[in-house]
Each structure stands twice: as C-alpha cells, then as structure tokens.
C-alpha cells in the first residue's frame, strides 16, 4: 500500500510542478481537463472496470453533478465548495436509483439500459428550460465561490480530487471490495454461492462511482462556467469516460490517468489546430483510439506493457499435488441432531417437474449421498437448497431457520457451502484469491481471510498451487480448489455436486481421501455422485431420486440391493437378473 501511495504523491507533485511552469492560459485549461477526464475515467473504472458491467451511461452522474453545482449557485447562491460535495451525494443517490432496478439485467442488456438514463435526463433538462445555464461571476469574493483568475488554482483543485479518487480506487483494489468485484466479474453465480452478496457490492461500487463522476461533473461546470444538457449528458461524455479507461488499462488504478494524459491533449490539440476545418476531429480521435485498442490490446495499453515485460520472467514449473495424510478409518456415523430438514420441496420448469415433493433430513456429522440417474433432479435439488432457484412450494429448514427467499450469499453465510458439477472457478484470479473470496463470509478482517484461505488450501493439499492462475489448473486441481473455497467459509454443511466426475481412478482416491478427512473432522456433507462404488465407501446413508421424486433411502448396502433402485438405474430386465 505504501509504494502505490508514494507513486500517487509523486505523480501529483510532478503534475503540479508542470502546471506551475506553464504560462499559457490555454495549456493550463488543457492540464485541468486532462485531470477532469482522468477522474471521470477512474469513476467509470471503479464500477465497470472492476465488476465487469459495462456502463454506457456514466454521463448521467457527470451531468447531475454539473447541474447540482450550477443550479445551487444560480438559484440559492451556494458556493461550489459546498455544491460539489452535495453533487456527490446526488451522484450516490442516482447510483442507488439507477443500480437497483438495472442490476436485474446482465451483459449487453445492462449496457443498453445504462445508455438510456443520461439521454432521458438530457431531454428532461432541456424541457425544464436549462438549455444553457451560465455560472455567474462573483466579483466580491471570488475565491469563496471557487473562482480564480489564475487558472493554475483549478489544476491544484483537480489534482486534489484525482488523488482522492485514485486513493479510493487503490483502497478498493487492495481490499475485499475489489476482490469481490473481480469475483463477480469472472463468475457472478460462483461469487454469490461463495457468500459474496453480489447485489450489495455492485450497489456500493456504483455509489462510489456515481459520487466520483458527479464530482468530476460539478468541477467541470465550475471550470467551464456554462452547462448545457448536451455537453454533460451527451453520449460523448459517457464514451470519453469509457474510452480513456479502456485505452489506458481497464481494472487498473493508473489506466484511466494514462489514457487521459495521452488522449485528451491529442484530441484538444487537433481540435485547436484543425477544428475550424475539421469540426468533428475530436470524436474521430476518440473513436479511432478505441477501435485500435479493441483490436490490438483489448485490456488497454498498461496491462499490455506489463505483460510484455513479464513474459520473459514467468516460467513457473508445474508443481505436483501435495500429499495428504490418508483419512483415518472412519466409523460410520449414525448422525447427531437434525441440521437440515427438507419439507415437501417442489420445483417445475415449464411442464417439467424437476423436483417433486421431496422431503428428507440431514443429521449432524453424517455423509448423505444422493444418487439417481441422469436428469433425476439432483442438481436442481442443490440449486433449491443453496438458493440459486426459488422453490415453487415446500421449504428448507437449516438449524431451525427457514431458508425460503434467502439469497445464495445469505444461505452461505448461515453455513451451507457448495461445489459445482460444472466447475465455476474465477479463472483469471490466483488459486489463493479464489479461496480467499470464499473465506470473506466467515472472516471480517481481510488478513484473517487470507490465513483461512491458506489453511483451507493446506487441508486439500493445494498449497503449492496457491500462486497459479485458476484458469491453468487441471480438473482434479479445480475440484480441490472448489472444495477449498467451500470449506474456507467454515461451513457446517457442505453440498458437493459430482465432485468425482471426470476424474481418473487415482484422482478419485485422492478426492475420496480429502472428503473422508473433512467428514472425519466433523463436517456434515451431502454429496451427489454417480459412481456407486465410491458412494458406498463414503456415505453413511443414501437417498435415491428418480424423475424428481424420492425413490428410496437408507443404508448404502440396502439401497443398492433395492429392486426399485436397480430398475430406475438399469431398467426392468436387470431387476430379475439381479434377483437370481
């Protein structure tokens, strides 16, 4: 943290020194505008860069900030010194009002919806009669109204705002805030299941982002002394925020600054030199810049530079999996008190009754296996249990609490963790960080979460892989990592969905030992599995699902001999054959 802070301070000092040397008023204004767009870029980056939801509508916040400052000054004689902070509050409120309904949408739908907000505001402000509002000159006490004869004062104020925005961005990146947003960006469902309250984090991000963007807009109004709906709510404003960031480097602290330092002077100089002959040259420059970046360096130039420098260094040898102690021979557990009670749970998809009227109990300390042919509704049952899918009817009680209507993250916080049949890693995060994300829900302090994650990795024998990117892991390593992520949340109940699928014999042994170890330490486990042999060794009790309904239940030996079960798995012919 100290080194990046020193970097920010050094940048601010150098920039200020440059501004003090420049005498030309026009260049001073340009130095100010570079900072305004850098701040705006940071605002966009804090939200869209880190959490991956592309906003085409950040002009909404910028414009609201600009109009708040302007109208407060014009109508109520409130100085921008107070107007800008008030504008930031408006930005926060707008973030909530926009975010809350719009976060229901994903991907391109979100991006398109965001486009509509500033454009709708643009027409509303025109209709309200604010086509062109000038900020009155205050001759009495200009400094009290943020008006200075010396343009360099604006550079200094903008620097203060930018430094604050950069520090905020840095603090987000280095904390659970940033890691949670990164997890949301890479796999939102997995993040939610691992206990990250995705809606809450996205709202926080858009609130911070809205505040910063509103500050940029408010300050922009003060500098230019006139506000029109088109300049502050227009498409180019949203586009510029996005473009400086994508150009410099998305999801990096310095990206927006770098993009702004390169693009804004370029566009301004061209506009000054050729603007009378080529009036739209600025827009062409921004458009060309972004087209180039998408084609050549999709993550932006800063990450591109970093990766070309790093490429020579990174040749990490593949580490073999660490040995783990064989699980102590486990006496079959009869189970303690009931921890999970499933009551007549049903769920249909259209005409397909995926889970119908299923009731069962899970006792503390036992390993309950769920088996059943493909399409029996096993994974849907898990999705109902961890809150991915709401039930049509019935309820689930966990330690006496009803789970109906709870979000997956809230259910995880109560102590139910899960892994996935089709693995859901955060592929561009290190293995350790993948697991840290799971630990947040159990640990309030980030340092403790890190510790818990290392511990969880050690328990599954994945410590040597801690610094690798999850995207490069083998199947067995990914399965182990998902297990580690699940147990890092200190669950009382683990839902393991086909943890052995796609593994070789030795790898299955490895996972059985790991799962056995977890069970021996007292963790209650519900596991879905196809391999009957593995199941008989691991589970204390089995239940069988077929066509969404509960078919049988009991001791593994008894269940596997049950004619109904054999029929469901193999067809009628095998029942008679098994009887002989």
């Amino acid at each position: 943290m100290r080194r990046p802070l020193a970097g920010i301070a050094a940048f601010a000092a150098a920039y200020l020194a440059l501004a003090l040397l420049v005498q030309n008023q026009y260049y001073q204004l340009m130095l100010t505008l570079v900072l305004v767009w850098a701040i705006m870029g940071v605002a966009w980056n804090v939200f869209s860069g880190y959490c991956g939801l592309v906003s085409f509508g950040h002009a909404a916040f910028f414009g609201l900030g600009a109009y708040t400052v302007t109208l407060l000054l014009v109508k109520l004689d409130v100085s921008p010194w107070f107007g800008i902070p008030l504008g930031m509050l408006v930005g926060v409120a707008a973030g909530v009002l926009i975010g809350f309904p719009t976060f229901r949408l994903r991907g391109v739908y979100f991006a398109l919806a965001m486009l509509a907000y500033p454009l709708a505001l643009l027409y509303i402000f025109e209709w309200l009669g604010y086509q062109e509002v000038s900020l009155p000159m205050k001759r009495e006490s200009p400094a009290a109204y943020m008006q200075f004869a010396d343009q360099r004062a604006y550079v200094a104020i903008a620097l203060v705002l930018l430094v604050a925005a950069l520090v905020a961005s840095l603090a987000i990146e280095r904390s659970r805030f940033g890691l949670s947003l990164a997890a949301i960006k890479q796999n939102e469902w997995a993040a939610e299941a691992a206990g990250i309250d995705t809606l809450a984090w996205k709202l926080k991000a858009i609130m911070v982002s809205g505040a910063i963007a509103a500050a940029a807009g408010g300050f922009y109004a003060v500098v230019l002394l006139v506000v029109t709906p088109l300049t502050v709510f227009g498409m180019l404003t949203s586009a510029q925020a996005l473009i400086v960031t994508l150009f410099g480097g998305v999801a990096t602290v310095w990206g927006p600054v770098l993009g702004s330092v390169i693009l804004i002077p370029l566009a301004e100089v061209l506009n000054a030199e050729l603007g009378d002959k080529l009036p739209g040259i600025q827009g062409v420059v921004f458009g060309a810049a972004i087209v180039l970046v998408v084609l050549v360096a999709p993550e932006g130039i800063l990450p591109k530079l970093r990766s070309t420098m790093k490429r020579t260094l990174e040749v990490a040898p593949r580490a073999p999996l660490a040995e783990i102690a064989a699980a102590p021979a486990r006496v079959r557990s009869a189970g303690g008190e009931v921890v999970l009670r499933v009551e007549r749970l049903s769920r249909s998809f259209g005409g397909l009754r995926a889970v119908q009227d299923v009731s069962f109990e899970v006792r503390k300390g036992e390993v309950l296996g769920i088996i059943g042919p493909n399409g029996a509704g096993k994974t849907t049952l898990f999705n109902l249990l961890n809150g991915f899918v709401p039930a049509d009817s019935g309820d689930v009680l966990f330690e006496g609490k009803r789970l109906r209507g709870l979000k997956p993250s809230a259910i995880c916080a109560l102590g139910i963790a899960r892994t996935f049949q089709v693995m859901r890693p955060f592929p561009r995060m290190k293995v350790l960080d993948n697991v840290v994300v799971g630990a947040f829900v159990a640990e309030r302090e980030d340092a403790r979460a890190l510790e818990a994650a290392r511990e969880a990795l050690a328990r599954v024998g994945l410590s040597r892989q801690a610094d690798q990117l999850a995207g490069g892991l083998t199947t067995v390593e990914l399965r182990l990592m998902e297990l580690a992520r699940a147990i890092a949340s200190r669950p009382k109940l683990l839902l393991a969905d086909e943890t052995l699928a796609g593994l070789g014999t030795r790898e299955i042994e490895r996972l059985l030992a790991t799962l056995g170890g977890l069970a021996a330490s007292g963790l209650t486990i519900v596991i879905i599995e196809h391999t009957m042999r593995a199941m008989v060794r691991l589970a204390d009790r089995l239940i069988v699902l077929d066509h969404g309904a509960l078919l049988a239940g009991g001791k593994p030996e008894a269940v596997t001999q049950d004619p109904k079960v054999i029929e469901a798995y193999l067809g009628k012919r095998w029942v008679t054959r098994a009887a002989h």
Partner: protein, 318 residues
C-alpha cells in the same frame, strides 16, 4: 370538444402507424444483424445517417427529382443509398468486425460481447464525427413538393373530423411495407435466406452442414446496414437531419428490437411499429420535448419486466 379529442387521437394513431412502419424497417436492419451475428451494433444510427446523406446526394446530384418525379425520385435515391451501404457494410465486416465476432462469440453470452460493443461504439464516433467534417453541421432535408402537403381523409364521424396524411410520410410508409414484404420472402424463400437462418439458429451445426457462417454474417451485416440506410433515406424526406442524427434514432431502434424480442427479425418489425405508435400517442399527453423520454421509459420498462420482448418467441435472457 370531444370531436377535437377524437380527431387528435385519430391523427396521432395514423401518424404513429406511418412513422412506426419506417421505424419498423430500421429495426429490422438492426434486428437482422443481432439475430444472425448476436452483435449489438452501436453504429446502426450512423448507417441510418449515411443513408440520409446518401439519399440526399443521390437525389440532388443525379437530379432524380427531375427524371422520376417527387414520388419515385427520393425512393430511387434511398435505394441507391441502401445498395451503397450494403457494400460498405460488407467491407466493414470483412476488415473490422470479423476480427471480434464470428463463431467464437455467436454462441456465448456475457463477456465475449463487450469487444464488439466497444468496437461499434468507436465506429459510431468515427462515422458521426467524420460526417460532421464531410457534411457540415447545417441541418439538411430533402425538399419535395410532398414534404409539406397532405391528403385529407374525411370528413369522418360528423363534418368536422378528418385525418390528414402527410404525403411524404405516406409514400415512405408504403415503401417500408413493400421492402419488409420483399425481405420476408427473401429470408423465408431463398437459399441465402435459409443460410442466414441456419447460421442464426446454431452457428456450429450450420458449419457442420457446410454453411459458410463467416459469409452469412457478412451478408447479414451488409443487408442490415442497407435496410437501415434505406429507412434513413425515407425518413430524410420528412425530417431534417444532421450528422449526429443517428443517436436520436439508435435508441428507437434498440427499443423496437428489444420490444420485439432480441433475435427475432419479425419481432423487430412489430416492435418498431409499436415504438412509433408510443411516440406519437405520447404527444397527446406529454410535451413534445419529452417524446423521446417516453420512448426511453418504455425501453427501460420492457428491459426490466420482459427482457424476452413482447412478440418474440426466441426467448433469450442474458
């Protein structure tokens, strides 16, 4: 008094139908590109704008008005502009869009789409601002004797209720419907149409059946540009325009396509028509400046409440 209200409602309804049919045509252009390529084309408004200027210059430079008269002249201009934009679209796809679209992206949701969205945003900025450089910022329109004259229908229901049909809009309406019908038969009846539908439905399976998906995308993009440009040429006969005009229409197009159900080309037509009606009927209760705001609100409401659209059967949630 009630006669005035009735007349206003009828007037707004007919205006909505006339304008809506043209919106429907431009929506079909965007919907075709999305349906086949799964690309949200941000620059579609700029193709509309280029269609307007293309029609203007074709009409002016070739003196189409003198040879073909006020009815056929602008239509011929719009058709020429559409053809020109078809080839422009083909080139843009081959050298630019193909690099971030195609098979790899068509089957995925989420992150894969951002590069295209951002690329077409860049394209939109370049085209609209280059338009400013080339065409200048003075609003233009295609003046024909039809622009300011109307047919009167009526008097209806008593003596004092009648509906006026602006001639330019009415001609544009008829052309839109005709083009939409031709396109319908093209897509359902021809070999290329089948190829487009197969590539849209399942690009991977289409490849296994020997369909050149890359080529299908190229044709869809060119065709989408051409249709929207043609619609732009029709709009130009009754609406003044400048190089930034695309942004006014791009939201209308998105709204129409989303309303019709993203991915459904027929849905895009009905969606565009509905947007035209909403826009014109909103003038009965809202000030004119808030017309577009009404469209944005409808657009947002549809996205929140029924992201699969009102008409489309191609249900797809992101």
């Amino acid at each position: 008094m009630s006669h005035v209200v009735l007349e206003n409602v009828l007037q707004a309804l007919t205006a909505g139908l006339l304008v809506g049919s043209i919106y429907a045509l431009m929506c079909v252009g965007l919907g075709l590109i999305f349906g086949v390529m799964r690309v949200i084309n941000f620059a579609q408004g700029e193709f509309l704008m280029l269609g307007m200027y293309g029609t203007l210059y074709a009409y002016g430079a070739l003196s189409l008005g003198r040879f073909l008269g006020p009815y056929a002249g602008p239509i011929a201009g719009a058709l020429l502009a559409g053809i020109a934009l078809y080839f422009a679209g083909i080139l843009l796809h081959r050298y630019l869009l193909a690099r971030v679209t195609g098979m790899r992206v068509a089957g995925t949701e989420g992150e894969g789409h951002y590069p295209q969205l951002i690329l077409t945003l860049g394209l939109s900025l370049i085209l609209s601002n280059a338009g400013l450089i080339v065409f200048g910022s003075t609003p233009e329109n295609i003046r024909t004797p039809l622009s300011a004259s109307a047919w009167e229908i009526g008097p209806l229901a008593g003596d004092d209720v009648s509906v006026f049909l602006n001639k330019a809009r009415s001609v544009a309406f008829l052309v839109s419907i005709a083009v939409a019908i031709v396109l319908y038969f093209f897509i359902t009846g021809t070999r290329i149409g089948k190829m487009l539908r197969a590539a849209a439905d399942n690009p991977e399976a289409a490849t296994y059946m020997g369909i050149d998906v890359e080529r299908a995308h190229r044709i869809a993009f060119g065709l989408g540009c051409a249709i929207t440009a043609l619609a732009g040429g029709l709009v130009a006969t009754y609406y003044p325009f400048q190089p930034y005009v695309g942004l006014e229409f791009v939201i209308i197009m998105y709204a129409g396509v989303v309303l019709g159900g993203m991915g459904s080309i027929g849905g895009a037509f009905w969606g565009g028509l509905t947007i035209g009606l909403v826009q014109q009927l909103s003038t009965l209760v809202l000030p004119v400046q808030l017309q577009n705001t009404a469209i944005f609100v409808v657009f947002l409401l549809i996205m929140m409440l029924r992201p699969e659209g009102l008409f489309g059967r191609n249900v797809e949630r992101a």
